[in-house]
């Protein structure tokens, strides 16, 4: 700090202690501002995480079991799930490709599930046949609701071939 400034601010006889006190207060102020900044960041993160969501319920009814003939794979594009009626029973699979999240489709003539983005192919039970997909398609929890409709919880993942829904 240069001489004239000291003179300008001089109000105390003891220059050295004045300066250290001044530095203390400047640090206190700056520190407070730093804390404010940090707090504001926390505050903003809290503000930015919504407390309520306007998203459809993860539980969807996909229709009556009679609508799905045996050995059929049906895509419900609204819910992005496959409803499969195999010999062992019904099961539901997410149609979201495990590679990069594109929605796969059922190719009736070839009997495979294929991803249009990067060419991954899957068997009707979700196993990968080819392409870059790292994992089989995700099986989802399925049950028969009170009204007799097949219900699927899209947020409940289950292991492949672990559960079949019997009528």
């Amino acid at each position: 700090m240069s001489e004239p400034e000291k003179k300008n601010l001089a109000a105390s006889n003891d220059e050295a202690s004045f300066l250290s006190r001044r530095q203390f207060f400047v640090k206190l102020g700056a520190g407070s501002l730093a804390i404010t900044g940090a707090g504001a960041t926390v505050f903003a993160v809290q503000y930015l995480s919504p407390n309520v969501l306007y998203e459809p319920s993860p539980i969807v009814g996909v229709g009556r079991p009679e609508h799905f003939p045996i050995d059929s794979v049906t895509l419900d594009p609204r819910a992005a799930i496959f409803v499969v009626h195999a010999q062992k029973g019904f099961y539901a699979m997410s149609s979201v490709c495990t590679h990069l999240g594109c929605l796969t489709v059922w190719r009736q003539d070839e009997g495979i599930i294929a991803c249009p983005c990067h060419g991954s192919t899957f068997r009707p039970d979700g196993k990968v046949i080819g392409g870059p997909a790292p994992r089989p398609l995700q099986w989802l929890k399925m049950w028969i609701g009170n009204d007799g409709n097949l219900m699927v919880d899209r947020s409940a993942n289950i292991a492949s071939e672990s559960e079949y829904v019997q009528l």
Partner: protein, 235 residues
């Protein structure tokens, strides 16, 4: 003053330290290197300009955050107000801050103008800055007014209806002007969208630009105005 580490203006910058230092020197250029203490006397400015800038910064920060929960559509915009109030963490606090700070800003702009006038700080060479200031006053009013519609409640709807009817009394082109401002014949979804774009994009950018010019001219015209010695003596 400390000796500048920066390479002299015009020479090449060799390392990041030099770049930072150059930047610091440029920053200093905005202000006079030294300010006479009398200029800073509270009674001379009441810090009204700085405070206006402060409220504007609050508006920018809170406004940016509020934008993340606001959809400019009917009646979703209103529902978003309710959400801010009832479910978003501290949403109501931010909205309050934005609202009250907006009122404070309008008031401070007026006060700043009055103070500058009574101090005679519009005198040459500051004529341009005075005009820029008048423009900033108008922009502030417009920004506050366009924001008034966004909650889409009875207060804002009818306030805006009354305000926009004034425009249509302009001879010959009044109706057309109002039509363009509202994007229709009544205050409707188009009007909401237009006011929203004005409020969050066009007007803030214009204010930022003019504030930059305002500060740059302030610096170029010799910092804060100090009355002429002769004038001082005369009083």
């Amino acid at each position: 003053m400390q000796k500048s580490l920066a390479a002299p203006t015009g020479t090449a910058i060799r390392n990041p330290i030099q770049a930072l230092a150059r930047w610091r020197d440029e920053f200093k250029e905005i202000f006079s290197a030294r300010v006479r203490e009398r200029q800073l006397g509270f009674r001379y400015t009441w810090y009204l300009g700085a405070l206006t800038l402060g409220t504007f910064s609050i508006q920018l920060i809170t406004g940016l955050l509020l934008m993340l929960y606001y959809h400019p559509s009917i009646p979703q915009g209103y529902a978003d107000m309710k959400d801010l109030h009832f479910v978003v963490s501290s949403g109501v606090f931010l909205r309050n801050l934005h609202r009250w700070s907006a009122h404070a800003m309008v008031f401070l702009v007026f006060a700043h103008m009055a103070k500058v006038f009574y101090r005679g700080a519009y005198r040459p060479p500051r004529e341009l800055n005075w005009v820029v200031g008048v423009c900033l006053l108008l922009l502030t009013l417009l920004a506050s007014y366009t924001g008034y519609l966004l909650p889409w409640d009875q207060l804002s709807y009818w306030g805006t209806t009354v305000g926009s009817s004034i425009i249509s009394s302009t001879p010959f082109i009044g109706e057309k002007l109002r039509f363009i401002l509202l994007g229709g014949h009544t205050v409707n979804a188009n009007a909401l969208l237009r006011f929203y774009v004005l409020h969050v994009v066009i007007l803030p950018l214009a204010v930022i630009l003019l504030v930059a010019i305002h500060l740059w001219r302030l610096h170029k015209d010799g910092g804060m105005y100090v009355e002429h010695e002769k004038n001082v003596e005369k009083r």
